[in-house]
């Protein structure tokens, strides 16, 4: 049972990381706290719902292709939002960020409800993914393993890009010292747009990947964003590796807590957050994304 629970925890941690990584990247570079990040996740889930029947119902490749396409569409929508609205408020009052990103929360929520209705929708998953390995009468569900593996691929790709590519260098430079990067001729606008697009893509594929496992409805946005913020706070807002550690910590703590201290499992996560906030004030100000 402990092993099954560990798988549960790691899977939830990976999903949390995919969501939180976008949030933390965007904050690290452009200092925008994107309250609409959960909405992009929800959008990814609904787009996957719409795409799966068109692309390849029942096949594993079709499912992942749909998720990828949903992520790209979400990225396109995120990019449009960044270019039309967010771009105008960089560096201004943080209250403006709140108003604009929360406005996007409401817009996406109403549009989704208008298109797909208020009831939950079911994203069909290929049967191959929904089964379980049965070892000694214990069920090890396939889906969490697959999600964890797919998430790992994304994480490694992301780390590779940030560490070894020119785009990654520019990104790190922008996070470290925006003014200096600009002086050296780096196009700030392009970085901001690129980062927002990447963050939206991550949120979109996270939503798409989780869609067949749970329930997809237009209220997913707020369900997701709170835990994502907790993860970012534990890891230090703006710190990518911190977010990875925070996500795994939250996921595994929650799962193990349910098994061993069922009455405390939810408190534990907030307890960790409180300890981090008290012990490490860096967590609140945000560290560098490296």
């Amino acid at each position: 049972m402990i092993w099954v629970q560990l798988v549960n925890g790691l899977m939830e941690g990976m999903m949390l990381f995919l969501i939180a990584s976008g949030l933390t990247l965007i904050f690290g570079v452009s200092r925008i706290v994107n309250f609409a990040h959960g909405s992009l996740y929800m959008l990814g889930a609904f787009l996957t719902y719409a795409l799966v029947p068109l692309i390849g119902p029942g096949s594993v490749a079709g499912f992942f292709a749909s998720v990828l396409l949903a992520g790209l569409l979400t990225a396109a929508i995120g990019t449009a939002f960044e270019m039309l609205a967010l771009r105008r408020i960089y560096g201004s009052d943080p209250l403006m960020q709140l108003i604009i990103t929360v406005a996007l929360v409401f817009i996406i929520r109403d549009v989704v409800r208008w298109i797909w209705g208020a009831n939950s929708v079911m994203v069909p998953a290929p049967d191959a993914l929904m089964g379980a390995f049965i070892i000694n009468d214990t069920y090890y569900p396939v889906f969490p393993f697959v999600i964890f593996g797919a998430g790992l691929v994304v994480v490694l790709a992301m780390i590779g890009i940030i560490r070894f590519t020119r785009a990654g260098i520019i990104l790190r430079a922008g996070t470290d010292d925006r003014g200096m990067a600009a002086l050296l001729g780096v196009n700030e606008r392009l970085i901001f747009t690129g980062v927002f697009a990447s963050g939206s893509f991550l949120a979109g594929i996270a939503g798409g990947m989780a869609a067949p496992y749970g329930d997809v409805n237009y209220l997913l946005d707020t369900t997701v964003i709170v835990t994502a913020f907790i993860v970012c706070v534990i890891g230090g807002l703006g710190n990518l590796y911190g977010a990875l550690a925070g996500a795994m910590l939250v996921g595994v703590t929650k799962a193990m807590g349910v098994l061993f201290f069922p009455r405390l499992s939810m408190v534990l996560i907030f307890l960790i957050m409180a300890v981090v906030l008290i012990a490490r004030s860096l967590g609140r100000q945000g560290g560098p994304a490296r």
């Binding site: 049972m1 899977m11 379980a132 069920y139 569900p141 349910v258 098994l259």
Partner: protein, 404 residues
């Protein structure tokens, strides 16, 4: 000549319009059209609208047409209370109804008490409104939350092959009272039954895997889950890959909207559920058939439990006002407490005077795939009469005293 006729017609239309506006019986309908309650609130409203149309087509109530004055509570108690207050103060309403969420229900019932307006509950079902927060203007037209949990316990107790049960629920008032009522009744009925420590998760939890794993770690014969909506959908979907339906059984709430949402993703067996008004398991009367047909014609789907509750309650209000011969609040309440009511979900229902509870039944059954419906339904549905599930007057008095 033509002008004259036209003038005549428009004058007629104007007077008719004025008469309609002046004489309509206004029903304050406060429901969660947005927020967590949105999917089921809409169903309830659809059922009520249909009832109002039918009543008005046959001459209205006491010769007056009914008019729904609809407000969105946004599924927030402050907002719902405010909307109810505005309706009561400014709109001259004769009835409050439609409320979905328990917390909004408690806010609205306070307003009903203050303005002395009958309040019919059709979706929200917290027993607090019958017990601690009871006022004489409140009428609960469905089995309340504890009654549903007790029905589940009665059903589980009859499964003699089940000896170990693992309860779980959403971590808020409804989840806890449901689990407590279920466990309490089950211990009375089957003292030898092993019941695990209950597990609670936050409302709307998406990742049910850890909770399913924890519940299954005690090797239960059945898991009782006081969860609904998205959390329930996640529990059923994820439960399959953890062997929940291979090693154990699930007993939960299965209203028609959940059955529709689940569709083919519903396991073929080992899922049991409590429902309030599952149209396929009700007594198949001509009235029910006519209602289903009319509902499908307008909304293009099968009516959910909430649609039937919305319909029944408007019809019952009409019956009570007709019996009272007035829409005056105290007379209507008296008519409710002395009359007997026939609805789509059951017949010969009565309302208890000391807690406003109607002896509405709860239905418990087992998931079934009937090819004549486009979604799973239930078989072997047992109807638990309301009386057997309602707390006695002494128990309620004791609970009220304890709450003081």
């Amino acid at each position: 000549m033509i002008t004259r006729i036209l003038t005549g017609v428009s004058v007629l239309a104007l007077t008719a319009g004025a008469a309609l506006a002046a004489d309509a019986i206004k029903v304050g309908y406060v429901t969660g059209l947005t927020g967590a309650c949105a999917p089921i609130s809409e169903d309830g409203l659809n059922g009520s609208k249909l009832a109002v149309e039918m009543l008005n087509a046959s001459g209205g109530v006491l010769g007056q047409p009914l008019e729904l004055v609809i407000r969105d509570s946004q599924t927030k108690p402050e907002e719902g209370g405010k909307q109810a207050r505005e309706l009561a103060a400014a709109e001259g309403i004769s009835l409050l109804t439609g409320v979905c969420s328990s917390s909004v229900l408690l806010a609205v019932t306070e307003v009903a008490k203050e303005f002395k307006i009958p309040h019919l509950a059709i979706i929200g079902s917290t027993q607090k409104a019958n017990i601690e927060a009871y006022n004489p203007y409140f009428i609960q037209t469905q089995a309340n939350a504890t009654m549903e949990a007790l029905a589940a316990a009665e059903y589980v107790a009859k499964k003699s092959e089940w000896t170990k049960i693992a309860p779980m629920g959403f971590d808020y008032e409804w989840g806890h009272t449901s689990v407590d009522a279920f466990v309490g009744r089950l211990k009375e009925l089957r003292p030898e039954m092993e019941i695990a420590d209950p597990i609670f998760m936050k409302v709307g939890e998406q990742n049910m895997g850890p909770y399913v794993t924890a519940a299954l770690s005690t090797n239960p014969d059945a898991v009782y889950a006081a969860v609904f909506g998205g959390g329930l959908v996640s529990l059923i979907k994820q439960g399959q890959s953890f062997g929940l339906f291979a090693k154990s059984n699930l007993v939960t709430l299965l209203t028609v909207d959940t059955l529709q949402s689940m569709g083919n993703a519903m396991p073929k067996e080992r899922v049991f559920g409590v429902a309030r008004a599952p149209f396929f398991a009700l007594e198949q009367t001509p009235e029910l058939a006519a209602f289903i047909e009319a509902y499908q014609a307008v909304y293009n789907e099968y009516p959910t439990d909430w649609a039937i509750n919305g319909y029944d309650s408007m019809m019952w209000y009409a019956a009570a006002a007709t019996a009272a011969g007035t829409t005056e609040s105290d007379a209507v309440i008296a008519a409710f407490q002395t009359g007997s009511f026939d609805g789509l979900k059951a017949k010969g229902l009565t309302v208890r005077a000391f807690d406003g509870q109607m002896n509405a039944p709860a239905y418990v059954g087992e998931v079934n795939f009937d090819p004549s419906f486009p979604f799973p339904t239930m078989k072997n549905v047992e109807k638990f009469a309301g009386e057997a599930l309602m707390f006695s007057e002494e128990t309620i008095q004791a609970m009220r005293d304890a709450a003081k």
